[in-house]
Amino acid sequence: MWKFFHKLASPPHFYRIAKSMIPWFAVPGLLLFAYGSYAGLFLAPADYQQGDAFRIIYVHVPSAYLSMMAYMIMAVSAGIGLIWRMKLAHAVSAAAAPLGAWFTFLALATGSIWGRPMWGTWWEWGDPRLTSELVLLFLYFGYMALRNAIDDTTKADRASAVLALVGAVNIPIIHFSVEWWSSLHQGPTLVKKGGPAMDTAMLYPLLAMILGFTFLFAALLLRRVRTEVLYRERRKRWVRDLILSANGKS
């Protein structure tokens, strides 16, 4: 078991393993995505209050969940990279950030589009989740900006890892304080916790979408890490051999 992990940490080995792993995530991900989209858009009944507009949750909820998941992956692998000086962990961290930022943006955009018919506004400062999601987007931007500003890869890895960890400590506090702040706002919150129980015809497509998004995210992440590893090791021998052998084949 441990040997497997040790081997996984070596870039050339990871590069090979990841290639064979990607289809195992991508294919179920695409299947679940296809089922979830079809069932969510056509089979699930319209909501008795929100009509067809509720269907955006099939994109919104998985995106919002992945936006936080990606930060966790980013911060945990940053910590691993910082403590055990594992290069691959830093590569994972670097690859996860743009994906996380993208899912955060997607969650914000779909939330905003959903808010238009439901709340009557594109943006509602009173909703704590919207605001903390926006802060999360800024945290991603800060992380990526710091990475871009430092030329030396090792230095960029470690500096951004410190930032990711400090951010991870702060995220629950930010969320809590935004919630406290908005609870003082007047006006009803339209989306309540523990609302009417969801019909299974609506629930199953949602679960399929969440799972499908997660699988696709994993496949994309692996692909991005592969590219990242290739770029970082571009001066190493195994990359040169790889490219030479690829050229020989064609």
Partner: protein, 232 residues
């Protein structure tokens, strides 16, 4: 063995002498202390000019405006926290000194707070008067600024340490620190607003104090790690 012990400066002495040095440097260059204060006063002046002079409006927006102004003024002074030390090489001396770097980082944060946060707290009543705040509200404003700027200095040290030695670090520093500073802003400004509306004050102050303590326990270590990385 005993010789070595005598030569080793104690952590507390080291922190104290670094603090004294930083304060002496700040007094020699009063612009570094005064400019952020002028900036604070100016931002606070801009808002009434932009939104109108109505008394009710000012009382309503005052806490938020003053807190945003304080946050920006703190940010302005953060950039230079490690810059001079980095340029003249004394930062490297700190890195190789036998005193733990985290203790030195705490000392630097404290010096920053004494030269930027504390002056803000002291001048804030002057601005508060122009915003028609009552005496009680002004007192709470000062209390929140006192606790909040401690957190900001500590939090900012991490960002300043991460960006020291980078070109165009100022904009980057704001991008790194502002999202993290949001809890301080929220609790600082809202507590003052709540008091102005006749509500209780304890919750917000407790939170600000707790956050300052949390930052005090995280920031020195994160700043030290960041300084080591920046100076590799």
């Amino acid at each position: 063995m005993s010789d070595k012990d005598e030569q080793m400066p104690s952590i507390f002495n080291g922190m104290l002498s670094l603090l004294r040095r930083d304060l002496a440097l700040a007094i020699k260059r009063p612009g570094d202390i005064l400019n952020p204060l002028f900036f604070f006063a100016m931002v606070a002046t801009l808002f009434p000019l932009a939104v109108g002079p109505g008394e009710e409006q000012l009382q309503f927006s005052g806490p938020g405006v003053l807190w945003v102004a304080a946050l920006l003024a703190t940010l302005l002074s953060l950039n230079s926290l490690f810059l001079a030390d980095y340029e003249d090489g004394s930062l490297e001396q700190l890195l190789v000194s036998p005193i733990p770097l985290s203790a030195m980082a705490l000392s630097k944060s404290l010096a920053h707070w004494l030269t930027s946060g504390l002056p803000l707290v002291i001048v804030s009543p002057l601005i508060a008067i122009t915003y028609q705040m009552s005496l009680a509200v002004t007192g709470v404003l000062m209390a929140t600024l006192l606790l909040g700027t401690i957190s900001l200095s500590l939090l900012g040290s991490i960002g300043a340490a991460l960006t020291v030695g980078l070109h165009r670090g100022t904009a980057l520093l704001s991008l790194l620190i502002l999202p993290l500073a949001m809890p301080v802003l929220i609790f600082g400004a809202r507590t003052v607003s709540l008091v102005a509306a006749g509500d209780g004050v304890a919750g917000g102050l407790y939170f600000l104090a707790a956050y300052a303590l949390l930052m005090m326990s995280i920031s020195p270590f994160a700043t030290a790690a960041a300084l080591r990385i920046s100076n590799e």
